[in-house]
Symmetry: C2
Subunit: 368 residues, 2 copies
């Protein structure tokens, strides 16, 4: 195991902070940051901002110029080794004659997977891997999941009263959560590559399911200029072909994919005639380049995804209200008859968002 | 408004910390702490530990001895002016010839209500009132509520899965919450003067509803010796006379009050034949000297108390589990038809207790 110095930690943290500046814009590319030091001086730095634009290392090398010679480059992800829309970054670092490269993690992309590191070592550059790896992985949960499994990272948003109701018995639900919670949802939508919902949800609320820059928290607006606004793909389950053209969904910017026998994407069905959700998710990766799927839908789709073990993270907003058990439940009927069958979650984060509570949790899927 | 010095603040904080040491044992008396300083030296201090035992001022004066002369006494509550089981503390301070008394708050007890302060002033002692008053009030929410309104302070405990279910459809519910949450419940029970429940809850779980010293968190055990264990009164609604003698409820230490036409306490009924809960609560004050009522019961009693505006604080444990909307709801059916009718809460505290979430909230009762 390589020993890292205090300066190494500080520089990699700086590179991670830089990488975070791309979280709203790089999809489907990963977030990457790079810092180049010559002795104690930072001579170059940069981050990847958008697919098709230069990688982090390119920005940092351009800034460093001649000072890159003999320098140390800190990169949050292994430099790429393949020709994509840009030449391989490993090659750029070799040409610039850096002496040492420290990467936080190996690239999970099977097209790279250690080849970038090998290229550098073959060129005589000292390479160390694994500095602040957990923090670097946290930059790109969706990119990593896709690369490692071929499936998108699925975040399921839910909102209910403290007693778990999403609507009154008559369907009234506007608004359970606060404007602050809805603003928070905007910033989480904005990070995703696609938003999955159903025609029922879209029609009931005439929901546009887009990202509205003016509704983003000011902290997000500060690092996400309006002119860079990227709309996640909106994927709507619409087997009965119910989506009418006059819906707000179609009047706002951004692409919509209707899933249905007469839609843009014809889903596989299982033996009982339901959409094969697992297959649909894989199709979103292969045909639409989606790493990160944000799901906003009703109890039926939510519980299907959970029961099938397809959810990576639940984001649950609980409003400080009691609505009574005669309302509509957060997840559908699960038909459980013994406590060992309940779906266990692990709480990752607990915070107040305005007057509401936001719980981020991971389902603990039991062995089959 | 009196100006207080840094030493004043420090000493009153110390008195408040001392007062807290009595929180498990003083009921139905208030928690009070006292510090006596002579110049910069602390010459005496004490707290009230148990009804019938000396008040905080008596402990502090005994410790100070002759050094109380010309000293300043910091008391978290106005010194008492009446002869109860102990002589009035105001008299004790006068006899000891203290020069100055600083109280955090006036006593809400109508038997005192400024008379203690007046006694001191009449004896030529300088008195200041209001230092850290909010913190001092927080020591005794139940005592203050009772003195100001004649009603007990009602804390309603609830526990559910994250989707608001308290049991599966078949009634299975052991255990939704974690051992840590159940330990936390023990420490909250231990602070109360009485526990209110129903024969159904007692019978379903064969619940003893007592305080088990060995189940208290070690942090509580440290300030609450086993030999000082005080059992809250257990008040059980049992109109059908269903409580059998062999229940655990009766085999453990502590007093039980059965509420029912053939019980120990015969309740008033309303026009529709239900127990007049508001009247019952007042009776618990007048006949059983209860300031602080802790409620552990099912959805029916919980929602009745909430709907009638009788709950001061909800303590809700949410376990990281999904149980499905076909289970049993946290509160009963409320029959709401419009969002403005929902019961709004204000969240006071949010914390993790082991794997579970504990939410402390106050109902916001709308104007009638």
């Amino acid at each position: 195991m390589a020993q890292f110095s205090t300066q190494d930690y500080a520089m990699m943290l700086r590179a991670i902070k830089l990488a975070q500046r791309g979280i709203y814009t790089t999809a489907p590319n990963p977030n990457v940051g790079c810092v180049i030091t010559n002795g104690e001086e930072i001579v170059g730095e940069g981050f990847h901002a958008r697919a098709g634009e230069p990688h982090a290392e390119v920005h940092a090398l351009r800034m460093a110029g001649d000072k890159a010679q003999g320098a140390t480059a800190y990169v949050t992800l292994e430099p790429c080794s393949h020709y994509g829309r840009t030449p391989p970054c490993a090659e750029g670092l070799i040409k610039a004659k850096v002496a040492k490269v420290i990467c936080a993690m190996q690239d999970p992309n099977p097209q790279v997977a250690g080849r970038g590191i090998q290229m550098l070592r073959d060129a005589g550059i000292e390479v160390q891997v694994g500095l602040l790896e957990a923090d670097a992985r946290a930059l790109n949960p969706a990119f990593i999941k896709r690369m490692e499994s071929g499936n998108p990272y699925v975040q399921l948003k839910m909102a209910a009263s403290l007693d778990g109701q999403t609507a009154l018995a008559n369907g009234q639900s506007q608004w359970i959560t606060s404007p602050q919670a809805r603003q928070d949802v905007q910033s989480l939508r904005a990070k995703s590559g696609a938003i999955l919902s159903t025609s029922k949800t879209v029609i009931d609320d005439n929901a546009s399911l887009n990202v509205r820059w003016h509704d983003l928290p000011t902290s997000v607006q500060a690092i996400y200029p309006q002119e860079a606004l990227r709309q996640p793909l909106r994927v709507i389950l619409d087997r009965q072909n119910q989506l009418q053209d006059e819906l707000k969904l179609f009047s706002v910017e951004g692409e919509v994919v209707r899933v249905g026998e007469q839609g843009d994407l014809v889903p596989q069905l299982d033996a009982s005639g339901h959409i094969e959700l697992r297959h649909l998710l894989t199709t979103l990766v292969t045909e639409h380049n989606v790493n990160h799927l944000w799901v906003e839908a009703g109890a039926t789709l939510a519980s299907s995804l959970i029961k099938q073990g397809l959810v990576d993270e639940l984001v649950i907003y609980l409003a400080p209200k009691l609505m009574g058990s005669d309302g509509r439940g957060l997840v559908g009927a699960l038909g459980l008859t013994a406590m060992y069958q309940v779906i266990d979650l692990e709480i990752k984060e607990l915070k107040q968002v305005g007057p509401d509570i936001r719980i981020t949790a991971t389902p603990i899927y039991k062995e089959q």
